[in-house]
Symmetry: C2
Subunit: 201 residues, 2 copies
C-alpha cells in the first residue's frame, strides 16, 4: 500500500469519514450541477449510481472479496462475481449514467450496460494475464503480485491460453453491443474496449 | 459500546461497508419510492440530504468531535459546532425534506430549517443536563458518563442554571419559527419541541 493512502496519513476514522462525505457529495453534485436534462432523467441517473455502490453493487463485491481472502477454493463463479461487482459495476455506472442522462431508451441503456460490464470484466482478466506475463519494469508496478498473494486469478483457474480466449470473447461481446448505434458516435467506445483488451501495462 | 454493534459482530471492514451501502440506499430509496411529487422537488430533497451528510454536515461534526477528544479547552463555539453538525443536522434534514417534498416555499423551508436546528441543539443541551441531574435508574442508561469521560458539556462550560436557560431559549426560538404556519398543522412540531425540552430520560 502506498504510504500516502489517506488512512495512513489521517487515520482510519478520518479516512472512512472522507469516503462518506465523497459518497454523499457524488449525489449532491449530480442533483445540483446537471443542467439541460429533465429532472426525471437525473433521478434515474441517481438511482443507477446508488444501485452500483450499494448492497447489490460495489459493497457486495468488496464483502465477497474480503470473505474470499485466504480461501483456497475460490471458483470461477465467485471470481467473476467479485470482479463484476468491484470493477465492472463502476464502469457500468459511468457508461449507463451517460446513456440515461443522454436520453437513451431502455434497450439502448441495457446494451450499453452489457458493453460496460464486459469491458469491466475484461479489464480484470487482462490485469490477471499481465501480472503473470510481464516484468515489473514493463508493468510499471510489481509483477507476480497475485501469485505471491495466492490470489484467485483467471490464469490460475483456467490457464493462460483460456484466459486469453476469454478476454477476446469479452471484447467481441462488448463491441457486439454497439452494432445498433451510430458508428461514429460509438467509435470512442470501440477504441476503449480495444485499449483495455490490448494494453500492455 | 453495546456488544452487538455491527463492527464488533461482523468486523470493522464489513461494518464500514454496511454503512456505505445504507448511505447509497438512502438516495436510491428517495429517487425510486417517492410518488406524487414532481421530480425537481425530489432532486431538491436529495440535495438537502447529501449536504446534511457530507463535508459541511455530519462528517464535519464527527471530524471536529474526533479532533476534540482529550482536548481540555473545548469552548462553547466548538461544542455547538459539533452538536449542530452531528445531531441537529439530521433533525434538520428530516424536517427540511418534508418541507421540500411538501412544496414549501423558500421562506417556509428556512423557518422549518431553523426550527429543526434549534430542537436538535436543544436535544443535546437537555442530554447534557440529564447526564448530571438524573440517576442511572431514571435515565435508563449510565448517568454521569460525560463527567467520567471528561467531555465538554453545556453544564460544564456554562453551569447548570445557564444551561437550563439556554434550553428554554432554544425551545422558544424553535416554536417562534412556527408562528406563521397553520396552528393545527404545526401542533405536532410544537409537541415535539416540548417533548425534547421537558423529557426526563
Amino acid at each position: 500500500m502506498p504510504e500516502n493512502y489517506s488512512n495512513l496519513v489521517f487515520g482510519e476514522d478520518v479516512a472512512v469519514l472522507a469516503g462518506d462525505s465523497l459518497l454523499a457529495f457524488a449525489f449532491e453534485y449530480i442533483a445540483t450541477v446537471t443542467t439541460g436534462v429533465p429532472p426525471s432523467r437525473i433521478l434515474a441517473a441517481i438511482f443507477e449510481l446508488a444501485k452500483s455502490i450499494g448492497a447489490e453493487g460495489l459493497v457486495a463485491g468488496q464483502v465477497v472479496d474480503i470473505a474470499s481472502a485466504g480461501v483456497s477454493d475460490v471458483g470461477l463463479d465467485q471470481l467473476e462475481f467479485i470482479h463484476v461487482h468491484k470493477t465492472a459495476v463502476l464502469l457500468e455506472a459511468s457508461v449507463v449514467l451517460g446513456a440515461v442522462l443522454g436520453g437513451g431508451n431502455k434497450e439502448e441503456v441495457e446494451k450499453l450496460r452489457k458493453f460496460a460490464r464486459c469491458i469491466g470484466l475484461l479489464f480484470q482478466v487482462v490485469d490477471d494475464i499481465l501480472d503473470v506475463t510481464k516484468s515489473s519494469a514493463e508493468l510499471g508496478k510489481t509483477a507476480g503480485k497475485d501469485l505471491v498473494a495466492e490470489k484467485a486469478t483467471y490464469p490460475k483457474l483456467m490457464g493462460l491460453e483460456k484466459s486469453r480466449e476469454f478476454a477476446e470473447k469479452l471484447n467481441e461481446e462488448a463491441k457486439d453491443q454497439l452494432s445498433g448505434f451510430d458508428s461514429g458516435k460509438a467509435a470512442p467506445l470501440v477504441a476503449l474496449a480495444n485499449y483495455i483488451a490490448y494494453r500492455q501495462n
